[in-house]
């Protein structure tokens, strides 16, 4: 069964000043699947991810060509960027909790988006924390500063925070690279659960991780997408020569 395409990328080029960081990327990303992005450092994975929620708008001198549509809406057309970012949540490589309580970290964005009633917020906070698999661990310290949590817990809090704004798509940029193996494993498991309801784009440096959790895999090199397909297919029958070298560790 092939899931419906939710993100369609066509002829994407991206420049930071002179440097071309992405060249002619074309991808169809399916709904409610995990798509992994792998490739050597500096190949443009983070850059690609940030195109999808337009975080690159914040980078001075960044120019984007081509088309990205989500649910058939051109996201570089005339849309509200804040609304886009509520549809596309993002989790960063390093946990970046805000300097407030666990509760407020999650409630901060929804409050701004119009959820004001305490009961609604309470429910939302509990729901998001539960989905992120964190509720049991922090239920007694919801009102303690969030930076007292462990790194792994902080990262899951960031995931909960992203879930609380009700996204359809979640971008994860190496969410486990700053964590210990146990926390990493928890987050991997979490990704698998999340795909029931969300489309997940996962950047990782860990090929085993990509092979373990993802449905599709895309391989980037020097800003180009050289290989893209079903994860099992891609790893067992790699088409691209460079990709073969990469997975056999000859890079």
């Amino acid at each position: 069964m092939a899931n419906r395409t939710i993100i369609k990328v066509e002829g994407l080029n991206l420049f930071y000043e002179e440097l071309q960081a992405l060249s002619n990327v074309n991808l169809d990303i399916a709904e409610k699947e995990i798509t992994a992005f792998i490739g050597p450092s500096g190949c443009g994975k983070t850059t690609f991810l940030k195109c999808i929620n337009r975080m690159n708008d914040l980078v001075p001198g960044c120019v984007i060509e081509g088309k990205i549509s989500i649910n058939d809406v051109d996201i570089y057309g005339n849309i509200n960027v804040d609304m886009l970012r509520r549809t596309v949540g993002m989790v960063f490589q390093k946990p970046n909790v805000f300097p407030m309580s666990v509760y407020d970290n999650i409630a901060f964005a929804p409050r701004g988006h119009g959820t004001r009633k305490k009961a609604d917020l309470d429910a939302l906070v509990i729901d998001s924390l539960t989905r992120a698999g964190l509720f049991q661990e922090v239920k007694d310290r919801l009102h303690k500063p969030a930076d007292e949590l462990s790194r792994g817990q902080q990262q899951r809090l960031c995931i909960a925070r992203a879930l609380a704004i009700g996204p359809e798509i979640i971008l994860m940029d190496e969410p486990t690279s700053a964590l210990d193996p146990i926390s990493a494993e928890i987050i991997e498991g979490l990704c698998r659960e999340l795909k029931e309801n969300y489309t997940v784009l996962l950047v990782t440096h860990n090929m085993q991780q990509a092979a373990r959790v993802s449905d599709k895999t895309a391989f980037f090199l020097l800003g180009q997408c050289l290989e893209f397909g079903e994860t099992s297919q891609v790893f067992s029958h790699p088409q691209n020569e460079e990709f073969q070298k990469y997975i056999s560790g000859k890079f």
């Binding site: 001075p60 001198g61 509520r86 300097p99 901060f108 701004g112 007292e148 992203a162």
Partner: protein, 574 residues
Amino acid sequence: MTAAFFSVVTIASIFVFLTSGSFMAIRKIGFLEFIFGPAWNSNPSDTLVGEIAGSYGILPLIVSTFASAIGALIVGGVIGFFTGVYLARFCSKKTSPYISQLINLLAAIPSIVYGYFGMMIVLPLLSYLSPTGESTGTLALSIVLGLMIVPTVTALTKSSLENVDESLYECAAALGLSHDKAVFAIEVPSVQRGVMAALLLGVGRALGETLTSVMLAGNKVNYPTSLFRSIRTIPGNVALEIDGAGELQLGALIGSALVLFVLVLVVFGMYNIVKNSKKKQQGQGIFAKLWANTVARFTKASKVVSIVSTGITIFVLSSIVVLILLNGAPNLGRQFLTGTYSGGYDTIAAPIVTTMMYVLLTALVSFPIGVCTAIYLTEYTSRQKKGRITTLIEIAIDTLSGIPSVIVGLFGVVVFADILGIGTSILAGCLTISLMIIPLTSRATQEALRLVPESYREGAYALGVGKARTTFELLFPSAIPGLLTMVILAVGRMLSDSAAVMFTMGGVLGPLPTGYLSQGSTLSTAIYVLGYQHEYYGEAYATASILIIIVLSLNLLSTFILNRFRRSSRLRKA
């Protein structure tokens, strides 16, 4: 957005004011006669038409201003520089922070206090040395202005030495150079630019000192042909003659302020060039050669000089505080602090109230504008390509924060008090001083916002939280310690200002102010009025003591806040 342009508008209007206000007068006097004329002998009845009875040449003023600034540079530059070297490289790691802290505290003492100290202590001491017994003049002024800039020079020298790449020292040590040699022959030359920048900043400040100059220079219009000859500086001249100035006289005063403005701009321009120049110029220029042949050769002696300088710095600066407090304490009675005014000068209740009213209103006017400018600059522009507008605003802010108080004061008294019809009053003072406080708050707020980790912004924007909410509800709370420091810094600056306050508030000591349209004195100007104008020395000492105590406690408070914050954030990370 509108707030951001404030500084640009201000700086432009000050410039327009200075040029247009002096144009007619200078034309009447004759440009060359004005700049190169050898005598200043004003006559208030001179107007823009008809015969001129006085003479309006400002060359002696220019030369005197320069001479005292250079003198200050020699005194303060040398002492400050060697103290900075000592603290960064010779002092034990344990004591160095305490001494630096002390010197920073002393930097916060208002210049009027230094001036009064000079008048009461330095002048009598110097009169033993002077052949004529007259001690006012270039030497006295240079010494006191020099002491004033010591803390700045020390701090900047120290920090630039501390930022030297460690490998440089290791390299020198590996070549078998002694510690002294490594420091003076290798490390110090590599921070040339930092030291130059520090010195220029000091000169910029010394050029604009006003009431200090009135108290110490002697005020006769002369060329500084001897160290003890009475001189008059440009700012001093403005302060002495602004009251009751005639039409032509006022124009000429504004013209002299324009000359000062240009001088200061040149100095700050050089400062910016030196600070930002990327190219390392080592071993070039006469200074470097001079250095290589003197200090770098005799490193043992240089080390001794460093130790001695540090001793002098600590001793002199702390004795200023101690002497003022000792002399002031006996006068700090109840009548003095809260008594009712009865025609004499035995109470400063009015300046105390005036100061409070003034600080309050100035803060209300300048903080919002300064903070908005900073938000505009950090949160709404720098992310996009740094545009011309941003650069323009930043240049305006930098220039505005460097303009001497005397110029802004002159602008305030003519524009706010006369043209807008507010009259010399507390209100005019608040508006005028705000012009100087706004760039300061805006710079400090920018710093505070820049220290907020970028990841907070990223996190919030990625959640689709809008810019305004991110700024006000996430970034601001995170920047609170920085903002508090900003407030304390700004209040300290308000308390310190003397020249602009003097001009715009009228500098009278009278009954309690009845409102913002009353005239008055702040604590700073009260020192001048009591001590210099009316020779109520004990009372002036007492006022200076109060001011010192307030400023020092503000400073300690801000250090305390910062330390506390640092500690708590470290604890949380661990």
